[in-house]
């Protein structure tokens, strides 16, 4: 079970639901592997000074962040923001 803190982020665009999740431990390769398993697509730029990952779930939810940080940025799809958020938080809660 994994604790997290959620904070709504604002940006330029009207209909987007963007959140930052602060996790209780630093993001590591195991977290990225977990993302790869649950995502439709997942890339990790390990060639950058702090490796940047960007994954998209089947419902369009985007999860982004860098290895070594404790925060991820999650963008929920306009059309199903509420249900997508509920679904993602359920799996985030139980991620290994």
């Amino acid at each position: 079970m994994s604790e997290f803190e959620r904070k709504k982020l604002e940006d330029c665009f009207v209909s987007r639901a963007v959140y930052q999740y602060r996790l209780e431990k630093k993001i590591d390769e195991a977290f990225v592997s977990w993302l790869e398993k649950i995502s439709l697509s997942c890339s990790c730029r390990r060639d950058l000074p702090r490796p940047y990952f960007n994954s998209t779930l089947a419902d369009g939810t985007q999860i982004k962040g860098v290895l070594g940080d404790t925060a991820i940025k999650v963008v929920y799809p306009d059309t199903s923001a509420e249900s997508s958020q509920k679904a993602f938080e359920e799996i985030l809660w139980v991620q290994p």
Partner: protein, 374 residues
């Protein structure tokens, strides 16, 4: 890893050396409102007014109304302007929401009309289009930005204000992107009002800004309340600046702004050096096949671009999260201008430099973009 900050069009960082200390010192001293209660005291607000009047070459510092930011100043000007129903405001598509939203609000509140003049692909107003719109609409007020916060292109203010005057319009200039960086001369340029912020190129603290109101303009006060003078009057006192400054001022922040203004006076911005650096950045990005918005004339140190095939947001995130480079992506609170530029609805990636950025930082940013796009 050191932060490389290139988001000065949003807010300047770092501030003028000593600004934070000036703010802190004013918070720590015993609170005596200058002019309120008959005490002699240091008066950061008056210092600001005098320094700003000198900077804009206006004679009467009392005509500088101190506000909490440029949005506050623009609202005082736009909501306080004595419109009649069906009056028209002429503005441009390059405006920030600090102009667009008050105008939208005024359309509903006072039943005024608003017309928008297009810009070229650099985000600059073409004087011939401006002149044509002025003749067509005969506005009561013309409001426009000195420089686009998206592209950095500087508008020909003197020419635009002169043309507006020919049809009898009052002129309000949004100098949020320019004051402290390039000349802003309302009296010379026939500009009636200038709205500005203290926390950008004036290098002062947030929570500071102002509005210059020329002698030909009489605004209704928008915010009314205590002024510390003429307390027996039911209405706001007629004298400036009190007429438009209700409530306790943000004295510590204005002490910081007064300090920053004094520092700037002693250390004028090396504008050529800053613009050369912006040019170096633009050239480096172009060499990486970025679509950099061209300036085609006078500009501020803003470099706005897109990278074909790359979402702007992802580039901004990688720069910040992976390289500690702070920039801004998206619409930059200027939603109408983008369809006239080369970007699509996703907006642009924007670097905005200050005097404190270095060639080494510029080169690092170029190489970071190079590494991101491979």
């Amino acid at each position: 890893m050191t932060v490389i900050y290139m988001n000065n069009a949003a807010t300047a960082w770092p501030k003028a050396p000593g600004t934070a200390e000036a703010v802190a010192e004013k918070i720590d001293v015993v609170s005596v409102h200058p002019g309120r209660g008959g005490f002699e005291a240091e008066d950061p607000e008056s210092d600001c007014r005098q320094l700003l009047a000198n900077l804009m070459a206006v004679n009467d510092p009392a005509r500088i109304i101190l506000t909490s930011n440029a949005t506050d100043a623009l609202n005082i000007a736009l909501q306080g302007f004595r419109f009649n129903p069906e009056d028209l405001v002429l503005t441009t598509v390059a405006e920030h929401n600090s102009v667009l939203r008050p105008l939208h609000y005024m359309k509903k509140l006072k039943n005024i009309k608003v017309a928008y003049v297009e810009v070229d692909r650099s985000g600059r107003v073409k004087p011939d289009k401006w002149a044509k719109a002025l003749k067509r609409y005969k506005p009561q007020l013309a409001v426009f930005t000195h420089a686009s916060n998206v592209t950095g292109s500087v508008n020909p203010v003197e020419e635009m204000a002169g043309l507006a005057k020919e049809v009898g319009a009052a002129v309000l200039l949004d100098a949020s992107q320019t004051l402290g960086l390039i000349e802003v001369l309302p009296r010379k340029w026939s500009v009636d009002m200038v709205a500005f912020t203290g926390h950008k190129y004036l290098l002062g603290p947030p929570g500071t800004g102002g509005l210059y109101i020329g002698p030909e303009v009489d605004l209704e006060p928008v915010l009314v309340g205590g002024t510390g003078i003429l307390s027996e009057l039911e209405e706001m006192p007629p004298a400036l600046p009190f007429r438009y400054e209700a409530g306790t001022p943000n004295t510590p922040s204005f002490a910081g702004l007064a300090h920053a203004l004094s520092w700037q006076r002693e250390n004028p911005a090396p504008i050529k050096e800053i613009l050369d650096r912006a040019g170096r950045l633009a050239s480096g990005l172009s060499a990486l096949r970025a679509q950099v918005t061209s300036w085609n004339g006078q500009h501020t140190p803003v470099v706005s671009f897109t990278l074909p095939g790359w979402p702007t947001e992802d580039i901004g995130e990688m720069l910040q999260m992976s390289f500690n480079v702070v920039c801004r992506t998206g619409l930059h609170c200027a939603p109408l201008v983008h369809k006239y530029l080369s970007d699509e609805a996703g907006g642009t990636i924007r670097f905005s430099l200050s005097r404190f950025n270095t060639d080494t930082e510029v080169d690092y940013v170029i190489s970071s973009i190079g590494r991101i796009i491979g």
